[in-house]
């Protein structure tokens, strides 16, 4: 199925999975109704058939209501079938995630444009395809409308007085990966490029911003509306097309007049400021890539309720309006710049250069992430850059170690699901739309880190040459006409990228690619050393853990830096199979003469106080892989004084951060001194100093009994930030030095973590923080202090400790602790002041909500979610809502409240803001109300049903949300059957009679049933037989070739809860210990029988994957009929619907089975009857009948998916009968 795109070794060029080539597409949206949230328009696709007799055209379209389809002015019948609407089509009590995941993957595959599939199948009128060998241009014209779209387009219509423009109503397109099909029919693939003509007719007070050049704006005849005409001459994938319409204020970039910025009314001053540095980013990228920005114009649009902060489309980017800021805001400024830089990097790699297939996504994400990193380095400095790399590496390593590996370049050889490259995941990585959001983020992270590794190998110069080569090839290709096959040069593939690298650099980076790109997981090192004084040798031992999940074995070079008294020395060691120990000769003898300065890595020479070190050893500190040129986690052991030297004298921020982390384990006065010194050093990178604050707080807590002097950091803070004359009063704010500003913000937060012997926050510290709040004076400051004030509230939150609980007493005002009363007063006042003078992004409200939740959690005030619930309602600023929701989620977990859980899930289903829905689910996943490991009263059948419905059908409009729901389901119930479900009745009865109850038998029957049920309904790409392979192995041998994912999906451990329940059921009956063997065998035989039956049938009837979908499609059409044909049904459509069953459709033109030709006629016939029967019979009966066939068909489609398309000509007549 995927052979075309996945196999980079064989296929160098791009081969379209479609029997036609799209050359041009017109999108015309002539009515956008904000009141009704509807859109009406049409598209016209110009396609060139690449085969003779093209009779079916598959396009992508979701949720669009299609009125008519014409091909070259002839009405064409079509069917519309979206299997992802409802993944599992029957009322199954199974509720097994393994099953769902594979069914979902199957559904997504069934309409995957990268494989040539689509939801919309158009039959080319026979007049056209009977024309003979001549391959003529076909113009496919589709009229469609969208009514209250749930995905793809988002309408923001504030509920205030006035016209839509005055209300600031706007609409914009959004989506995760290729989601353009949600708002107009297209070939929604990143690899199908064409030129575009886009027309949008909108209210005269509105502006429509879209991709390409705005050619003209014309009034309609009634002068009430105007039409924006856009032309995009650069071949672009439909997935990179976007639109936003609203009463935008327009700002032409003062530096670059071809760049235009758009924001919502009243925000123009913010827009001006925020965009004032965009030109620098442009200059930077154009310079390093030695390539002009590929499009003739660029547009930035800032919208409310954005799906993600940044999304890039061809020649335009859509941002969240919350990125805008005024000149007074410090903290948001770098963040917004970073977002702009990301967006622009993606313009080059992602929009202009598109990808050949999903498996090549890593190249684009990698390059755009990498050049973004270069921008970071240039703008924010090397320290910031290295800090960022470390942060990204740590994040990614942590995720991989936890979840078990992120694979950049998955290969699905032979189309067999058996070789699932990531069996450890609960979702498939075959499609972007089945990925967990977190995984995708880590994927991007890893991609740019790998690019950096490649850079390390071939040098940055070559790297940039490669990028330049890709870009210049693409630019040349983009100016060509469609007849030449040059357009595919605009698509990047892993293969072409690697080829470029080897051409340019002449280096072989194969091993590197194999290790990090073709393989998932990271390396985990443990290092320790001993100094051999006699030999003057450092004996370094580096061990690896490559057995736990997410780890792999590393063989190859590793750099070790040793700082000795005589200087810093790099050593490259070779990590090999069995060698753990490495001897490194030292350069310097241990020192007697202490006067000499010590040279550092960067050539600097410093004086050090060497009294702390071991007199026998010349070693100051050792670093393993200091340049982060391996994707690894290093746990290295060295003495505390070495860490302290490293912190003080090593100039690399990564080393400093590592030593800070290590020093947490050494709570000694020496560590304290080293940390305080760093805190005071204003040349030190501010993030290191921030880290030192927290470390110092931890050390102070561990040293509680021996700590002398005032609380940690207090005198330091006083010295740095308080008035000379009155040390208890903080200076009035100026924030002129940003480094000091960040330190000033962090220190109180860290100080509040201090605890005294009673484990309370010292009174001193609390009063100190309260004074900071009291004396805070921002009147003379040109910067806003909102973040600072918010952090002071955070400090108050940090100072909270659990209340002394008087058992189960209701919390009242009277028994409020005095300190807490003070804190609460501050919080109340701050929160109330926010209503009168709101702060930027309501940072203070956010902090206050967190503080209140903390007060509740610690038992100071009654635990009550109602306040948070009111702040979480639609109509608050998004940050506030998220903070409030976080509190509700926390409440749900702590109080095990099913009411709140319902409330949250309700919001997931109904909230207008997509980001909030996503956020709720991901927060629930992060802080789950219960997990699969523990029992909880919340875990009940109704909840399982609800979540199941949510992921099965409730989230079909938003890929990301569906994957979030899957994640949550996984967190709550695991891969197998949720333990709270009642046992399947049949199995249970049977077992009770025999007085035998074991886990497997009770589930297996279900399993069997399940297969039967589901196959009739899924589009049937494979049959997921979940989990219980250990017991079914025997029976399934024949099946193995058939269903693949199921087998490889691993043996799921029996759910604990279920076992327990079973025991309790069986217990009273007084049964002895169950004998699994017997029951098992019985079950197995029945299973076998079924399977055999299947195999027989499968031999006789050779079915093709499209057929089994017929029933489903038809079923679907019945459902669709109502919504899709409003009012009077146009007869053409009617006919189309009726005529369909008579002409079954092949799903994959390119991959039809060769062997099917003979049987297919038979089969069609058979099927034909089936269809007729179906009309009379009730649907579910039909379903049941269908099960075996579909399973087989399904298998077939796999078995033959590699064969060339040859059966078509034979088959086509049979289709028309």
């Amino acid at each position: 199925m995927h052979e075309v795109k996945m196999n980079r070794k064989k296929d160098k060029g791009f081969e379209s999975p479609r029997p036609f080539k799209l050359t041009h597409q017109v999108v015309c949206i002539n009515n956008i109704n904000f009141q009704r949230k509807s859109v009406i328009g049409f598209v016209e696709l110009t396609i060139f058939p690449t085969v003779v007799n093209l009779n079916r055209i598959k396009l992508n379209s979701k949720q669009c209501r299609i009125y008519r389809v014409r091909v070259n002015d002839l009405e064409a019948p079509f069917i519309y079938n979206d299997p992802t609407l409802e993944v599992c089509h029957h009322e199954s009590k199974q509720r097994n995630l393994n099953y769902f995941s594979s069914a979902y993957t199957a559904a997504v595959s069934a309409v995957d444009p990268d494989a040539g599939h689509g939801e919309l199948v158009i039959k080319v009128p026979s007049e056209l395809w009977k024309q003979g060998d001549e391959m003529n241009v076909l113009k496919v014209y589709i009229e469609f409308s969208l009514d209250q779209p749930k995905g793809g387009l988002h309408f923001v219509v504030p509920d205030v007085e006035g016209s839509m423009a005055e209300r600031g109503a706007h609409v914009f397109s959004f989506g995760y990966q290729n989601s353009t099909r949600f708002w107009f029919p297209c070939v929604d693939s990143y690899s199908e490029l064409c030129t575009w003509k886009l027309e949008f007719t909108v209210d005269a007070s509105m502006v429509a911003v879209s991709c390409g050049d705005l050619v003209e704006t014309v009034y309609t005849h009634d002068m009430r509306k105007k039409t924006f005409h856009y032309v995009l001459p650069i071949p672009t994938a439909a997935s990179n097309i976007s639109l936003s319409v609203g009463p935008f204020e327009i700002l032409v970039d003062p530096y670059m007049h071809e760049v235009t910025h758009f924001c919502l009314p009243q925000l123009l001053p913010l827009l001006k400021h925020s965009m004032s540095y965009l030109h620098e980013i442009f200059e930077f990228y154009e310079e390093i890539l030695t390539c002009r920005y590929p499009y003739s114009c660029f547009k930035t649009v800032f919208v409310d309720e954005a799906y993600v902060q940044v999304s890039s489309y061809a020649s335009m980017s859509i941002f969240s309006t919350n990125l805008l800021h005024s000149a007074m805001i410090i903290d948001q400024t770098p963040l917004t710049r970073q977002c702009l830089a990301q967006a622009l990097a993606q313009q080059f790699f992602g929009c202009f250069i598109s990808r050949m297939s999903w498996a090549d996504e890593w190249v684009l994400k990698g390059i755009s992430g990498y050049i973004y990193g270069l921008y970071l380095k240039k703008t924010f400095g090397v320290n910031q850059y290295r800090h960022w790399i470390k942060e990204e590496l740590d994040k990614m390593v942590e995720y991989e170690l936890k979840m078990g590996g992120v694979l950049l370049h998955p290969t699905f050889g032979g189309g067999k699901d058996k070789d699932n490259p990531t069996p450890h995941l609960h979702f498939s990585i075959k499609h972007p739309h089945t990925l967990s959001w977190k995984y995708y983020k880590m994927f991007q992270c890893k991609a740019h880190l790998v690019m950096r590794l490649i850079e390390n190998r071939i040098s940055m110069e070559f790297m940039l040459q490669v990028f330049n080569k890709l870009l210049s090839l693409a630019s040349t290709a983009s100016s060509q006409k469609y007849q030449s096959h040059m357009w595919s040069q605009m698509l990047v593939s892993t293969h072409s990228f690697l080829k470029s690298i080897s051409n340019v650099s002449g280096k072989d980076i194969g091993p590197l690619i194999k290790q990090w790109v073709d393989q998932s997981a990271v390396v985990k090192f443990f290092g320790s050393f001993a100094f051999n004084r006699k030999r003057n040798v450092l004996e370094l031992e580096i061990r690896q853990d490559y057995t736990s999940s997410g780890t792999q074995k590393y063989v190859g070079p590793i750099k070790v830096t040793v700082q000795e008294l005589d200087g810093s020395f790099n050593h490259t060691l070779q990590i090999e199979e069995n060698s753990l120990k490495h001897d490194i000769p030292c350069h310097s003898k241990s020192r007697r003469n202490k006067k000499k300065k010590i040279p550092l890595m960067n050539g600097e020479e410093v004086d050090m106080d060497l009294s702390a070190m071991d007199a026998d050893s010349p070693l100051l500190w050792i670093r393993i892989d200091p340049d982060m040129s391996i994707l690894r986690k290093v746990e290295f052991e060295q003495a505390d004084f070495m860490w302290q030297y490293q912190l003080r004298y090593e100039r690399d921020v990564v080393a400093q951060e590592e030593s800070i982390l290590a020093l947490e384990k050494f709570p000694t006065p020496a560590s304290r001194l080293a940390l305080t010194d760093i805190l005071e050093q204003d040349q030190c990178f501010y993030k290191v100093r921030q880290g030192a604050c927290f470390c110092l707080a931890k050390i102070a807590n561990s040293m509680m009994s021996t700590w002398t002097g005032p609380p940690a950091m207090k005198s330091l803070f006083t010295r740095m930030f308080c008035c000379k004359s009155c040390p208890n009063i903080v200076k009035t704010n100026t924030f002129i030095s940003f480094q000091s500003y960040f330190l000033q913000k962090t220190m109180p937060v860290a100080m509040a973590q201090l605890r005294d012997i009673q484990n309370l926050c010292p009174k001193d510290v609390l009063n100190f923080i309260l004074d900071l709040i009291k004396y805070n004076d921002n009147r003379k400051n040109k910067f806003s202090d909102n973040y600072y004030r918010a952090e002071l509230i955070d400090a108050l939150t940090n100072s909270l400790t659990p209340a002394i609980s008087i058992s189960n007493e209701v919390r009242t005002v009277d028994n409020l602790n005095g300190d807490v009363r003070l804190i609460l007063e501050e919080i109340t006042r701050s929160l109330n002041m926010e209503k009168l003078l709101p702060s930027y992004r309501n940072t203070i409200t956010v902090s206050c909500l967190r503080a209140i939740r903390m007060l509740q959690k610690n038992g100071h005030i009654p635990s009550d979610p109602s306040l948070f619930k009111s702040y979480a309602e639609y109509g608050h600023f998004v940050d506030v809502r998220v903070a409030a929701l976080e509190a509700v989620v926390d409440y749900t977990r702590v109080d095990r409240s099913s009411v709140e859980l319902q409330w949250l899930l309700n919001m997931v289903q109904n909230d207008p803001a997509h980001y909030i829905r996503h956020k709720i689910l991901s927060m629930l996943g992060k802080n789950p109300p219960f997990t699969k490991a523990a029992e909880s009263p919340l875990c009940n059948e109704a909840l399982v049903d609800q979540l199941w419905k949510l992921m099965n059908s409730g989230t079909s409009h938003d890929w990301r949300l569906r994957c979030d729901a899957v994640n949550l389901y996984y967190t709550l119930f695991g891969l197998t059957r949720p333990s709270c479900l009642p046992l399947p009745e049949l199995g249970l009865v049977l077992n009770l009679k025999e007085k035998k109850a074991v886990l497997n038998p009770t589930i297996k029957p279900e399993q069997g049933l399940d297969t039967t049920e589901m196959t009739g309904n899924t589009m049937g790409v494979h049959i997921p037989v979940m989990g219980f392979t250990s017991s079914l192995d025997e029976g399934l041998i024949t099946m193995e070739t058939v269903s693949s994912v199921s087998m490889s999906s691993g043996v799921a451990p029996p759910p604990q809860g279920l076992k327990r329940k079973l025991d309790s059921v069986v217990g009273p009956l007084g049964s002895s210990s169950p004998e699994p063997g017997q029951v098992l065998q019985e079950e197995d035989t029945s299973k076998k029988f079924k399977i055999r039956f299947n195999t027989v049938e499968e031999d006789e009837i050779d079915m093709e994957s499209p057929h089994d979908s017929q029933a489903f499609i038809h079923h679907h059409l019945n459902i669709l009929e109502r919504p899709s044909t409003p009012g009077k049904e146009p007869p053409a459509v009617d006919q189309a619907v009726l005529s369909l069953p008579v002409t079954p459709l092949p799903s994959s033109f390119g991959k039809e089975s060769t062997s099917s030709s003979k049987h297919s006629g038979d089969h069609h016939h058979h099927h034909h009857h089936h269809e007729h029967k179906k009309k009379k019979k009730k649907k579910h009966k039909h379903k049941h009948k269908h099960k075996h066939e579909s399973k087989d068909k399904e298998r077939d489609s796999h078995a033959f998916s590699n064969s060339p398309a040859s059966g078509r000509s034979v088959r086509s007549p049979s289709m028309s009968d």
């Binding site: 235009t260 114009c297 007074m328 009063i729 109330n832 209503k835 003078l837 600023f877 998004v878």
Partner: protein, 308 residues
């Protein structure tokens, strides 16, 4: 401080009647009332002299008004004459000149004064002369330097023309200032929030005592991002103080989109004049900025539809 009172007095003296009807009790008013009554007596006696037995009140009033105007005018002119010759007190000659100037034959005056039937009019009752409120003396008045004769008016208070000293020493102790500023701000904030909480809806953290830590109830807004992103007025003030240069170019280019939007509804159907008018501003814009951006270009008219 003194000046306005004098002015007011002078004013009412000239206008005369304005204060009459109303029962007022200020000494200045009483003083004037007494004099006016005397004038009425004078008018009445003159009328009697001329042989009238009675007169309407309004007539008497009018005559009083006339006589008062006349006398005032004489006084004003005499004063002017005297000041013209750099003196401050009018002399007889000033009065004579004035009367002559006003067309009054001064020579007839002694005869008229000695006429037989004249009636003796009592002097106006002694009322307290209007107290001219004392000017607040601030600082030491300067004495005349030697070259200025002593009869010249005194210098005014130094604060009116040299400097105005504040009346209290500022508290210079930094700590106290900060302390005070902090507590003041806190008091204001607390009072304000309490007031808002008392007058509006609240949310409470405690079930037993809803008034304990009242939180102003949150109000969902239809466009929440505006208040969250735009700087508050307070912050804007600070910004203006620190940096006022940005304001100028802000208003400058704000016109650009406005123009663009304005010509949409303004342009009328089939009105070529208006159409031309619609184009003008955007031409101006492009002249000003020399920017050719498709979003700034004028919106085109639809092509004329052919009749079917």
């Amino acid at each position: 401080m003194a000046d306005p009172a004098v002015m007011a007095g002078g004013f009412s003296a000239i206008v005369g009647r304005s204060g009459c009807g109303k029962a007022t009790s200020s000494p200045a008013e009483n003083y004037q009332l007494a004099r006016r009554r005397t004038l009425q007596v004078v008018v009445s006696s003159l009328l009697t002299e001329c042989g009238f037995e009675s007169a309407e009140k309004a007539t008497v009033e009018s005559l009083t008004e006339m006589i008062q105007s006349y006398i005032s005018e004489v006084g004003r002119c005499a004063k002017a004459y005297c000041e013209h010759t750099a003196r401050i007190t009018p002399t007889l000659s000033d009065a004579v000149v004035t009367l002559n100037e006003m067309g009054f034959n001064v020579d007839t005056l002694p005869g008229y004064a000695k006429r037989s039937q004249r009636m003796v009019i009592t002097a106006p009752p002694v009322t307290n002369a209007p107290v001219i409120p004392k000017a607040l003396i601030a600082g030491q008045k300067r004495t005349h330097p030697s070259h200025i004769p002593s009869h010249f008016p005194e210098f005014p208070d130094p604060h009116t023309y040299i400097k105005t000293p504040t009346f209290r020493e500022p508290v210079s102790d930094y700590q106290v200032v900060r302390e005070k500023a902090a507590s003041q701000r806190r008091d204001v904030e607390r009072a304000l929030t309490r007031f808002m909480a008392k007058t509006g809806e609240t949310q409470s953290l405690f079930k037993d005592d809803v008034t304990a830590f009242p939180l102003i109830a949150e109000r969902p807004s239809s466009i929440p991002y505006l208040s969250a992103l735009l700087p508050s007025e307070l912050e804007l003030q600070t910004l203006e103080e620190t940096d006022s240069s940005e304001q100028d170019d802000q208003t400058d280019s704000e016109n650009t989109p406005v123009n663009n939007l304005n010509d949409d509804p303004g342009a009328d159907k089939e009105n070529s004049v208006l159409l031309a008018g619609g184009v003008v501003p955007s031409v101006k814009v492009s002249e000003e900025n020399m920017i050719d951006n498709p979003y700034l270009r004028p919106v085109k008219k639809p092509k004329v539809r052919r009749k079917k």
